[in-house]
């Protein structure tokens, strides 16, 4: 076993989990009922896959946040991507999850079945390669994701300066402004945040300090093994009991205070923050990334102008409220019957990282 595999085995030790759960129970006894939000979709999956909610004392509740990139992408963005895919000589490339998400009237997968060329790629660089191989096509990479994926999209665009038929359609979103928007909601009642591990590896834990201080909310950047999550919950409880509201790092193997300066530089070289619309949260100032003007010639949003009819959300779908932790997936009248992974109505049931899909798959 290499070092990583040894660490993994140590984290998998059931005895460690038992000790952490005991400590969590002791801390929770000292506190009124608390509600923590796991912000990241990968955490939602890890938590439900390990069956953590039922192991926690009843006074410690976890709710899922707006941390699934596919889910927070509003229908308007999807509708525009589909319209772009239907332009002549255009190939749209994106991550697989995006294809099945229903837009207002159709999905990218349905557009593909109608004859549009839509390709699944595993990395933005695959889309650049596709553009090099297919000079007769305008290859548009539909870039979704948070600060985790934005640097790779930026690097791909920098690598494609000599590939004029490569375009980027940026639907990237930024996590800290969304968290600020959540706390600005009058009905938002969460006493601690489990912060995303991968996003924080890029932006650094320091990026959340203003939020922690201003809103007096304990924050812990968490890793993804069950033991990481349990330890992070314990750290949040201890902050609450001792009256602290700090940003602590549990996921020390990957995350530092300042984050990854090189990745941020690349991001800043290519993107500029812009106001952006989120499913569930609406328009949030400076919460998206658009291409800088010097990249205008490869900005699909500018070059490939499409007009789409007004977008709307599916009737009865509560994805918007699920994404802000206001309702649990199981409270949605469509959950499990009208909306399931085989026939999703909303994006939270499509994506691997979607809250509804995680509840459906691992049990609510």
């Amino acid at each position: 076993m290499n070092a990583g595999q040894k660490l993994r085995a140590a984290l998998d030790d059931p005895a460690l989990a038992t000790r952490l759960l005991d400590a969590i129970r002791r801390e929770a006894r000292e506190l009124p009922p608390v509600r923590f939000m796991e912000v990241c979709g990968t955490h939602t999956v890890a938590i439900r896959r390990a069956g953590i909610p039922r192991l926690l004392p009843p006074s410690v509740e976890l709710v899922s946040g707006p941390g699934c990139p596919v889910c927070v992408t509003p229908n308007e963005t999807l509708d525009r991507a589909i319209a772009i895919a239907e332009l002549p000589d255009v190939t749209v490339a994106s991550f697989g999850d995006m294809l099945r998400v229903p837009g207002t009237v159709s999905s990218l997968a349905q557009a593909r079945a109608r004859g549009a060329e839509v390709r699944v790629v595993y990395s933005p660089l695959d889309a650049v390669r596709l553009a090099r191989e297919r000079p007769d096509r305008r290859v548009v990479f539909l870039a979704v994701g948070f600060e985790t994926t934005a640097p790779t999209a930026a690097a791909a665009l920098l690598a494609a300066r000599d590939v004029p038929n490569f375009y980027l359609f940026s639907a990237h979103k930024l996590v800290p402004p969304a968290l600020a928007a959540l706390f600005a909601r009058p009905d938002f009642a969460v006493q601690g945040l489990l912060l995303p591990g991968h996003v924080s590896a890029i932006i650094g834990a320091d990026a959340y300090r203003p939020l922690a201080e201003e809103r007096r909310v304990p924050c812990v950047v968490a890793g993804f093994e069950p033991a990481d999550v349990l330890l992070s919950i314990l750290m949040l409880l201890r902050q609450l009991r001792t009256g602290r509201a700090e940003v602590e790092i549990e996921y020390r193997v990957a995350v530092s205070g300042p984050g990854n300066a090189r990745a941020r530089e690349i991001m800043e070289e290519v993107f500029v923050a812009t106001d952006s619309r989120w499913r569930g949260l609406g328009e949030i100032p400076q919460s998206g990334l658009s291409l800088r003007p010097e990249f205008a010639a490869q900005d699909a949003g500018r070059v490939l102008a499409v007009s789409v009819p007004e977008s709307s959300e599916p009737a009865g779908c509560l994805c918007g409220q699920v994404l802000v932790g206001a309702v649990r997936p199981t409270a949605c009248p469509l959950f499990g019957d009208a909306c399931r992974p085989a026939r999703p109505v909303g994006p939270c049931m499509v994506s691997n990282e979607g809250t509804c899909a995680a509840y459906y798959r691992y049990g609510g």
Binding site: G4, Q5, A17, T18, T42, R49, P341, G363
Partner: protein, 345 residues
């Protein structure tokens, strides 16, 4: 004018051309110089429209189409896969596989060297599994109309006397065995496609398991159900069993063997090894009183050294598979919807 004899075994063509699928001289040359070179079955060398094979008793038959990208991967290739997949499916019916038919759809432009590598690999897999390819067909599609090579194989075998396996035989109280670590094939393929295989000793488990299954069936009477966890992995097989038998399954996740490399790659990709395909494993459901004996028998076979008892059949929660997680929690073990995709968060 001297005509080049059709028996000339030299392949001049570096790549597959449309003519190779025309049924004319180029096809004959390809068949003789490549397929017959590697595949020794006398029935195939008859070059008849089909093959006559002797089989007594109930016959198990299975067919499968194989498409895989990349064609060659650590631990196997599409040729080996196409033999093992069908051999294993026949074995899961409780039958000893004996003969295979193979059909190839080749895309114009595939190199002959690649095709040769695939056919040689099929021959080797056949030898390992004790089966012969007795008949086949080759078609060529124009460039862009296929993905290099598609292989379809059909296999037959004689059902072992007295053996009757199927999910309807599954009863509450039965134990569930798996023949080795799960998820290696699917995880390896996805890791290769995503370009994260470097530094991980990943490899497909692609292998015929008919010999091991026959050993189990011959020595342990009363095996209730067998299935190889290919697409959808262990999770799909257990859910199919639960649904088709009207029972529930209870699985202890910590007991399910997963290789460290597959676990690491699956972690990176955000995938569950229990939902990833195997190509050289099988799941057996059998009465509790036979489970220990069956497990010792399997573990004594080199290919099944990693076999494990992973859970049992219960009357509670019919149609559902519940797993006890490593940290003592509980979760549903559901079937993956669509294609497993790497996470982006």
């Amino acid at each position: 004018m001297k005509r080049e004899p059709d028996n000339d075994l030299v392949v001049h063509d570096a790549r597959v051309e449309l003519a190779h699928g025309s049924g004319g001289r180029a096809t004959a040359r390809l068949v003789r110089s490549l397929f017959l070179k590697y595949l020794p079955s006398p029935a195939l060398h008859e070059l008849h429209d089909g093959a006559v094979v002797p089989i007594a008793g109930p016959l198990a038959i299975s067919t499968d189409a194989f498409v895989v990208d990349p064609l060659f991967f650590p631990g196997g290739d599409i040729g080996k896969l196409s033999v093992c997949g069908t051999v294993n499916d026949v074995a899961m019916c409780g039958a000893r596989p004996s003969s295979l038919a193979a059909a190839f759809v080749l895309e114009e432009g595939l190199t002959i060297a690649e095709l040769e590598r695939i056919v040689a690999s099929m021959a080797q897999a056949c030898a390992g599994a004790g089966v012969s390819i007795v008949t086949g067909d080759t078609k060529v599609v124009p460039r862009g109309k296929g993905d290099r090579v598609f292989v379809t194989t059909t296999g037959v075998g004689q059902v072992l006397p007295g053996v009757s396996v199927g999910p309807r035989q599954i009863r509450p109280g039965d134990h569930v065995l798996v023949s080795g670590p799960v998820g290696d094939h699917g995880t390896t393929i996805l890791a290769l496609r995503a370009g994260i295989d470097a530094g991980l000793e990943l490899g497909s488990d692609c292998a015929p398991v008919a010999g091991e299954v026959m050993a189990l069936l011959e020595r342990i009477p009363g095996v209730h159900a067998l299935r190889d966890p290919t697409r959808g992995g262990l999770a799909a097989v257990l859910n199919e069993f639960a649904e088709q038998s009207g029972t529930g399954f209870w699985i202890d996740e910590a007991s399910v063997p997963v290789s460290p490399a597959t676990r690491a790659a699956a972690d990176i990709l955000g995938l569950d090894p229990l939902q990833m395909a195997c190509e050289g494993r099988f799941v057996a459901v059998l009465p509790a009183e036979r489970a220990d004996e069956a497990l010792s028998l399997l573990r004594a076979l080199p290919a099944c050294a990693g076999a494990a008892s992973i859970g049992e059949v219960v009357a509670a929660h019919p149609g559902k598979v519940v797993a006890r997680t490593r940290i003592g929690g509980e979760r549903l073990l559901d079937v993956f919807e669509g294609e497993p995709l790497p996470r982006i968060c």
